[in-house]
Subunit: 402 residues, 2 copies
Amino acid sequence: MAATNRDQRRAAHVTRSLRGVNRFMTHSGWAQRRDRRGVMDFALGNPQDMPMPEITQALKFWADPLTRDWFAYKTSDSCAQIVAARSLRERTGVPFESEDIAMTNGAFGALTAGIKLVTLPGDEVLFNLPPWFCYEALIEDAGAVPVKVNVQPEDFDLDIAAIAEAISPRTRLVILNTPHNPTGRIYDRRSLQELASVLEEASRRNGRRIYLLSDEVYARIVFDGNRAVSPAEVYDHTLVVYSWSKQLLIPGQRIGYLAVHPNMPEREELREEVVAIQLASGYAFPNALLQHALGDLDRLSINVDHLQRKRDRMVGALREIGYEVHSPQATFYLLPKSPIADDQFFSEMLAERDVFVVPGTLVEYPGYFRISLTASDDMIERSLPHFEAVYRLSRLQESMIA
Amino acid sequence: MAATNRDQRRAAHVTRSLRGVNRFMTHSGWAQRRDRRGVMDFALGNPQDMPMPEITQALKFWADPLTRDWFAYKTSDSCAQIVAARSLRERTGVPFESEDIAMTNGAFGALTAGIKLVTLPGDEVLFNLPPWFCYEALIEDAGAVPVKVNVQPEDFDLDIAAIAEAISPRTRLVILNTPHNPTGRIYDRRSLQELASVLEEASRRNGRRIYLLSDEVYARIVFDGNRAVSPAEVYDHTLVVYSWSKQLLIPGQRIGYLAVHPNMPEREELREEVVAIQLASGYAFPNALLQHALGDLDRLSINVDHLQRKRDRMVGALREIGYEVHSPQATFYLLPKSPIADDQFFSEMLAERDVFVVPGTLVEYPGYFRISLTASDDMIERSLPHFEAVYRLSRLQESMIA
């Protein structure tokens, strides 16, 4: 009795869905050597250059209190809501109002709030593979049931037929991530319209609305003059998730939002309920300082042109070496094919040379690996000989096995 | 179908347990007039004076990045864990190590993580009435079942016999809040030892451990040279919740922790699982800046002597008017008896005079009302004639009804 029965705790269950990620975080080459000088870190969407000085300036400026309640309990600050709604309106053309915006502690809080807002335990929540690494854990924490659908392997586009087939009478929510991590794909208007028709039809068939939760955290990290169409432009029952963590590359200072579509008939009901959900799920609001600073922060962005140049350099060099790799339309990521089937072994070979990537297996996409372009120019240049050596070594090994 | 069926969403359910609080937040006199000049605000444990300048200094100082990952993804920062563990060791004498500390976004995140760490859906979680206003919602969000036990009405001490009686084979967790909001009671070592015996015995009987979650956010807000004994000093299966929000009076800048008792046999298992729980419940970690600043912040505190003088002034003046009110040992709060049975009506009479308190009904303790001593000296002095007038008016009304 003294020792706990592991099976008697939900913790054990949640840990299972994060086990691969946890092991990577705690036991991989990256975990052990990431802090060393001179490493080439392409693992997470984390900053590898110093933060923009304007961020520190904004934090300092708004740290001076103007009122006695400057650092008092904050839910959604009305000024921050105005900034967020304006920004979302300008980006999508959909007439979001500030009252439609629930300010959150980044995308995590917005996803949690969105999932809990519309699902009951036992409801099915559908999302695409390869996924962002935490969807499944958030869905399970809400007591809902994850259902996974692969994107199309040849071009990473949505597989609408497969989604339609995966929808059941229990489906309550579809999570869409566009631009998509880790494929860098932007789903175009036609695909989104097709999906909207499928959801509309299935909602009618089920006699119960299927919502769409649109994770748009990379909406401003787009290349080649692309624009990422928001699903909110084509489907009224959309909840939009945004976070400034990518735009500013400060995922440790968390601010984002969940937006309820202005054409949703149950809009006002949801507005009120989301506050209770945010309280009940552990205070999923951003800190006061970040909300005060949001007007300044929203005007800032990492240099996307520079990111695009890093994409071109990396894609070109990897292809020259022999890697199969697409050129992403957006996001921080490349998703090349692993030259050998065992992407974890391949990733550890790179890690032994202090080059850190995420093996595809970790995002349920074996045979690939993910590179984050947030790595510095210097890291990119120094890494290329290693990418070449490990490519050749792994091909050699494979030919010996074959 | 277009409109959502309210019963088909958990949101509706969670909202129910927060309905009273929500109504107070959105429709009370306080909600409507709290921002006006000259109001006397005793409602929440919120600052009514300007923040300490040292807080702004610390935020500014630590906003200057020292490394490229200064604002990168942060879970529990090892320096912040060291500060927290040292502080908790010094306060309790229990040999907590930094690895026992999970840094959280204040007490909300720590409570959520603690509840989810040890319970399964359907497990019973016991807490005392009157409670902190959000326990029930956090328990329900975790899928667990709230069980409520009144404290002793005469002196607000723990009712150990009632707790023992309320324990069932499904009881998994007891939440204890000491010093206690809103009664200001510190439970003494003997009471805690009796409780520990009850939990030990019931765990044996049930063949399953009953954990204790100790909410100690007021541990440093104590009067008259008191010390708040931590339940961790007498019961090894204790999880400690702390937040700096009270000590610094900055509940909008959220940092706190959940600490796992160093004598718990399953300590290492829990340490690993709590990270997954924090991710899965929506990133319940504090922001990077606050973790960097914690060494400086932990040395600061609001002026507790001043708070004690406000307590004495307020208790003395209210008693002189005729109110029945105890003198709290700790916390921000007084809990006087409402001079009429209907504490909500009484509170709205005060609110019409721009004096804001929390009616006891809101914290499931009808017939009382809560005063927060975070109000300024000036608010206190200006409020006394109103407390007197409303006392006399309400007594007059009652005598007319009788």
